[in-house]
Structures are given as structure tokens and as C-alpha cells.
Amino acid sequence: MAATTVAVPPLSSDRPTGQGQRKGPKGELRWGSPGVYVVAVLLILVMLAPVAYVIIGGFRTNAQITTDPSGWPDPWQVGNYVDVLTGNVFWRQVINSAIAAGATTIGVVVLGLMASFAIARYNFLGRGALYSLFAAGLMFPMTVAITPLYILVRTLGLMNDLSGVILPQIGFALPTTIIILVPFLRAIPSELQEAAEIDGCSRLGFFWRMVLPLSMPGVITVGILAFIGSWNSYLLPLFILNDADSFTLPLGVQAFSSEYSVDTAKVLAFTSLAMLPALVFFSLFERRIVGGLTGAVKG
């Protein structure tokens, strides 16, 4: 903190963090060097330009796009968006995606939390083996198992059924979930458990009253990861859902873009509407995602 004795660094942007990150006297953040902001703005431009192109492109007509592919809408057309939003194809796919993602998330969180609790806080024969088994699941990507999975789901009669997507997704999301949750649950001090036991709380009561609230950050992180993973998943629905009525959004986007391949503007509108839910969802939970990852990494 002794900023006064710090050797003067060569560049203004290279200030030692101890100095550069100090808050001003009124607790306000200092602006810091402009170079940092230039880089940050450039970075954001690169990251967002393609997304912006898709969204803005949806406000143009095909004629505008053909004559000037990289231009601005002139005039702005809302027709493409209105068409997509008033048709029932888009909404059906939103609902399918929401059901699949919601059920996957709930399933993963409930099953993962239960298993993690047992692994983290019980001593039993084969506990290490059990953890290793789940952890080994990280080695099995869905890509490898996709064909037998398709055959299994077909045998179970779940083709074109969202549960044919949900169950495998829960299975494949469990390894990450358990690996993130176990350290969270282990980190809860045993003194808490002892105190709860003295107060007459059973182990399962302890689970409900103490573990669940305390592991909420981890739970929310794995929940969000599972939700986004399911919302965006493509390979499994591609194999399982062949009937257009059961399409989730990713399949819908692909079907739409090949069906209307000449109607670029409409494809752009459909595509941007399809990414909207994930973006909204993410911006709502961004703090949790980053915070959860931080927690997981810190242990």
C-alpha cells in the first residue's frame, strides 16, 4: 500500500496494481490509463460485431442485403421480426427448448446435489471409486456415445420425445456438476454439522437446513451451466428429434436457414431471436456464473 515508495514504472499503463487499483479518496474508482480502455473497446467491437450484424441484418430487406451486404438498414424494416414472432414455429421451438433445458437443469441439480452430498460428507466403502467413476464421465463426451445413445433412446420408444433428450443430457451433465459441487459441500465446516447434530438435527435435516442454503452459489453455477448447455445442444437433438414438431431452437434455426436459404433477412431475424433467450438468461445470471467459477477455482 505504500504507493509513495514504489519505483516509477516505465509506462503509465504499466502501473503496479497496488497503486493502479487504489480507490480514490471518495471511494470512487480511478479512470486509469486510456490505453486500457482503447484495447477494451476494440475487443468488445470484435466480439460483438458479428452478433450485431445478425441482429441489425434482420431489420433489412433481402434487396438491401444483396445490393450492399455490409450496409445499414435503410429504411429499417420490422417485417422479418414480426413474421417470425407471429408464426407459431418459433414459439413452439422456444417452448420445446425451455422444457428440455428446464427439466435437464432440475434433474442435474437434484441428482447431482444428492450424489455430491453423499460423496462429500459420508464415509463409505467405494466413495473414492464412486467419485472417480463420475469424474471419468468427463472423458466420455456425448459425441462418442451418440450412436448407441440414439439406439437406446429408440429402443425405449422416446424418439421425437423431449425426454429422450433430457435423460441423456442429465447423465452427461452429472460429472461436471459433481466435480464442482463436491468441494463446495466439503468446505462446509464440520463444526456446523456437529452443532446441528447436538441440536438434534439428523444428517438429512442438516442437508436441507444447512447444506442446501450454503451451497447455493455452487448449485446456481451448475444449474446455469446445465441450462445453457441444454439450450444450445445440437448433436443429441439432431439424432433424437426428427419430427419438426419436437424441434428445439438450434434444430429450428438450422431447418429455418435451409428452408428459407434465399430469404437471408428472415434467417437473420430468426437467428437473432433464437439467441435472445440465452443472452437474456446469461445477463441475468452473469454475476453468478463468474462468481460460481471463481468459487470453484478457489475451492
Binding site: 516505465p10 497496488g18 475487443l43 468488445i44 467419485y131 437406446l152 442429465i170 456464473i289 471463481t294 475451492g299
Partner: protein, 337 residues
């Protein structure tokens, strides 16, 4: 993924643990441990807690993986039980098929360049964002946006932008760089670089977020102490931050390698199943779907899956053995201390 028993990290957690593989929980060696209720009640609890997860995991993850290994020995079109046992013939075909060699080469290329392109850039961005600055949180959100968008949306959007009459070429034309315009997607000389560009754009946000999380775990006092000793900003980053970030870097590299080996969605969506091999972007996974399910040869597809899995497994084990070994449980699972 080997032994993750807590005994391997003594500073791990304050609770339970020592009892190795030793059977009944029994008497714990540590005096501060509470006495346990052993017996059926507890076993029942464990069974109820782990049972459902285990059931779903075994039936929808482990069982299909084992079945893939089994089906791989058959010539089978996917209907009825497989009967035409062909031994290792599928594997022979795979290993001698030049198209598979191409796919494998592309995968190797993607693995290497994912690390080379994303790693250093993501570290720099994370260092930048780790400085306290205005609008920091909004920048973090925005950088993560491509990662959150689905591969299908990314693929559809980029292929519209990059097609030969698309926005990028038009933009280059307008700023007087028309000479740089290319057929980004179908020119075999540059298609794989196009793919790398899209991959970098899509996945760098994940690396940045992971590194930022790792950076926040590094005590500020260390940086301050080094600064007092006269270290410049870059010296601090090089001598203190990077070494302390190493566990996170190693975990990220692991995830990146595995992801690159199994890349499917983006290639399949942008290049489709046939163009990918002529444009030079096919991967093992697109090869598997093209020549397995799409060709109606389920036995063959499964054999490809097995090869893909074995390659990933060997890479993963080698990586675990020689790189991750240093991190007791790895950054994600609670290492960095």
C-alpha cells in the same frame, strides 16, 4: 480423474475423510472427529442419495459408451440385433482411410492452434480486465457473449457473413482492401483458418472468465509486496501472477484439447457433411456422423467413435500424468491454494 480421495490433499477440507478404502467407516483416527452412526440407516441414506444419479449416469453414459465398443465389431445398419460380426475390419478401414487421416490431421491442427491462439490472448485480456476499471463488469459480460450463443446460431451467422458475397468481403471492398476478399468458407487453403478464427472468437470468452476467476484467487498482497520491491507491472505479472495462474491454465488447456478433439457442431453447421472434407475442415466427429449414421453404417460409426474416444483418452491420460499431476485435484476441483 484418478484417485481423488481426499488423502491426496491434506489441506483440503476440514471435514471427514481419512478412512481410505478401508471398508466400514470404523473408528476414525482423529480425536476431533465426531462419532458416526454406522449401520443400515446410513447405508440406506447413501443408497437413496447416490442411487438415482448413478442409475441415470450408468444407463445413459456408461452403457452407451460400452455399447459403442461392442457395435464397433459389427457391420450393422442399425435395425435388429447386430449379427454380422466383422472383427477388426471396421478399424482397419478407418485406419487406412485417407479421409480419416485428413480429419485426424485437422483435429490435431485445431488442438494446437486453439491453445496457441486462445491461450496468450486470453491471459492478456484477463490481466487487462483484472485491473480495476470502469465498466469492468459490463466488459466481462460482453466478452462472454459469443460463448453463450449456441453453435448453430454462431455457425449460421458466420456463414452468412463469410460467404463470398457476404458482409466481410463487401466491407473489405469498401475500405479499399478488396484484394483481401476471399472465399473464406470453401477455399481449401484458408477454410481451416476461418474455422480457427470462429473457434477463437467463440471460445476465448470461456478462457478469459476462467483465468479471471483464477486471478482473483491470487492474494493482492503478493503483487503489492513485489511492487514495493520495485518490480514493474509486467515483472509482477510474469514472476508472480503467471506462475500462480498455472493450475488454472493447465485445466483450461486440458478442457480446450478435449473440446478440440471432439469438435463437431460448428464444422457440421457451417460446412455441412460433404463440403467439410473438400474444404479441409472435417473432424473425426463429422467423419463419424457422415460415414456412420448418415451412411446407414452404424457399426462403422461406432468404430469411429471408439477410435475418437481412445485418442481422447490417451491424450487425456498423458496430459494428466505429465501436466496435471502437480495440481493435487486440479483447479476446477478445488486446487489453487
Amino acid at each position: 480423474m484418478t484417485s481423488t480421495r481426499a488423502s491426496s490433499h491434506p489441506d483440503g477440507s476440514p471435514v471427514d475423510l481419512p478412512v481410505g478404502e478401508g471398508g466400514t467407516p470404523a473408528v476414525s483416527p482423529s480425536p476431533r472427529r465426531r462419532r458416526r452412526r454406522t449401520g443400515w440407516g446410513e447405508r440406506l441414506e447413501i443408497a437413496v442419495l447416490t442411487g438415482p444419479a448413478l442409475l441415470v449416469f450408468l444407463s445413459f453414459v456408461i452403457f452407451p459408451v460400452l455399447m459403442a465398443a461392442y457395435y464397433g465389431f459389427f457391420s450393422w445398419e442399425g435395425y435388429g440385433p447386430p449379427t454380422d460380426f466383422v472383427g477388426l475390419k471396421n478399424y482397419e478401414t478407418i485406419l487406412t482411410d485417407p479421409l480419416f487421416h485428413d480429419a485426424l490431421r485437422h483435429n490435431a491442427f485445431i488442438v494446437v492452434f486453439s491453445l496457441v491462439l486462445q491461450g496468450p490472448a486470453a491471459v492478456l485480456i484477463a490481466l487487462l480486465l483484472n485491473r480495476r476499471m470502469r465498466g469492468q463488469s459490463i466488459i466481462r459480460v460482453l466478452i462472454f457473449v459469443p460463448y453463450v450463443i449456441s453453435e448453430v446460431v454462431v455457425g449460421t451467422g458466420w456463414s452468412l457473413i463469410l460467404q463470398s458475397t457476404g458482409a466481410l468481403n463487401d466491407l473489405l471492398e469498401q475500405i479499399g482492401l478488396g484484394g483481401l476478399a476471399r472465399d473464406w468458407i470453401s477455399d481449401p487453403d484458408i477454410a481451416i483458418w476461418t474455422l480457427m478464427g470462429i473457434i477463437t472468437w467463440k471460445y476465448i470468452g470461456f478462457a478469459v472468465i476462467l483465468f479471471l476467476a483464477g486471478l482473483q484467487g491470487i492474494p493482492q498482497e503478493l503483487n503489492e509486496a513485489a511492487a514495493i520491491d520495485g518490480a514493474s507491472y509486467w515483472q509482477v505479472q510474469r514472476r508472480i501472477t503467471l506462475p500462480l495462474l498455472a493450475p488454472t491454465l493447465r485445466i483450461w488447456a486440458f478442457l480446450s484439447i478435449i473440446g478440440a478433439l471432439q469438435l463437431f457442431d460448428l464444422v457440421y453447421i457451417i460446412w455441412g457433411q460433404y463440403v467439410a472434407s473438400t474444404a479441409g475442415t472435417s473432424t473425426m466427429a463429422t467423419y463419424m456422423v457422415s460415414f456412420g449414421r448418415n451412411a446407414g453404417s452404424y457399426g462403422y460409426g461406432n468404430a469411429v467413435a471408439v477410435v475418437l474416444f481412445l485418442i481422447s483418452l490417451v491424450v487425456a491420460l498423458v496430459y494428466q500424468r505429465f501436466v496435471l499431476r502437480r495440481d493435487t485435484e486440479g483447479a476446477i476441483t478445488g486446487g489453487v491454494r
